[in-house]
């Protein structure tokens, strides 16, 4: 895993089957959620935003763990591939958090009568967005990339405090945001006709996250190792 040439070849093969799988899952999930699933008895058709809002939010949170874990590995063991992973995950997480925030605001208008409230869940998601942007900006701000990776790792690890707050905010505080509909323990508060396309879309967003992080990592590796023998040979042979 720590060898850039091996990872570059392996990720190239992975991307080739992850791309069609992601596109297929997204198309089937969106078709099912938009056209086949029944409307919600209280929210009507506006609830169909759930099929992008929830997957984006779930994967944005999971993506933060990936970034923070890579940050910890980079800080403790000084593994360069961990720096590359952290840097690759940050912009993807920022886009997914932005999607969760935008679709949440659009969904809020017909449901709550407002685009935005300074609610615990929404505010902590906004903080997550700024944490992702902070990591992206820190990487760019430093001339010395080793120092940049260290600063980003520290910021990522400090930001992990925010993740349980996001998860539990709807239980800890009085909130406009509804509690989680899918539960790992106990019965989910969502009918199976709506649940299956949602699970499919969550799977699709996980695949999309993996795909985009891999693409970012490949671009970064190519640039960092542009003078190395393996990149020179790879491009010379192509």
């Amino acid at each position: 895993m720590g060898s850039p040439p091996w990872f570059f070849r392996f990720s190239g093969r992975l991307v080739r089957w992850l791309l069609p799988l992601t596109v297929a899952l997204l198309l089937v999930g969106a078709f099912w959620g938009l056209l086949v699933a029944p409307p919600d008895f209280r929210q009507g058709n506006s609830y169909r935003i759930i099929y992008i809002h929830v997957p984006a939010a779930v994967v944005a949170l999971a993506g933060y763990y990936v970034m923070a874990l890579a940050g910890a590995v980079s800080l403790i063991w000084r593994i360069k591939m961990a720096d590359v992973t952290m840097r690759a995950a940050a912009p993807v997480g920022a886009v997914l958090t932005a999607i969760a925030l935008v679709t949440g605001a659009v969904w809020g208008k017909p449901t709550w009568g407002t685009w935005w409230v300074w609610d615990a869940r929404i505010t902590s998601m906004l903080l997550l967005f700024f944490l992702y942007l902070g990591v992206v900006a820190l990487f760019e701000a430093y001339e010395n990339k080793t120092a940049a990776a260290r600063a980003c790792a520290v910021l990522s690890l400090i930001g992990t405090v925010n993740i349980p707050i996001i998860y539990k905010s709807v239980d800890w505080w009085y909130s406009l945001h509804q509690p989680a509909s899918i539960k790992f323990t106990g019965e989910s508060a969502i009918d199976s006709s709506m649940l299956y396309p949602l699970l499919l879309m969550i799977g699709a967003f996980y695949c999309l996250f993996a795909l985009t992080v891999l693409l970012n990592m490949r671009a970064e590796l190519l640039w960092r190792h542009r003078d190395s023998a393996w990149v020179q040979q790879l491009i010379g042979d192509a």
Partner: protein, 69 residues
Amino acid sequence: MYFDSLSSLWHMDGHGIYVWVSYGVTALLLAAMVRLPISRFHRHWEWVKSEQLRRVSAEPTGAVDGQKD
């Protein structure tokens, strides 16, 4: 299929604008999210390739020059 016509799918009982705007914005952001690293990869690839070509064309051709005499 829940909707019986394209018009009812578009309007979604008055919620169409919210749903389609959400899906549209998401599609644009996701497309950009995937497109950007692919373009960056190709840009880097082309840069390394052009550097290789530049180095090859700048190499001295002493042996050939020597034969002229």
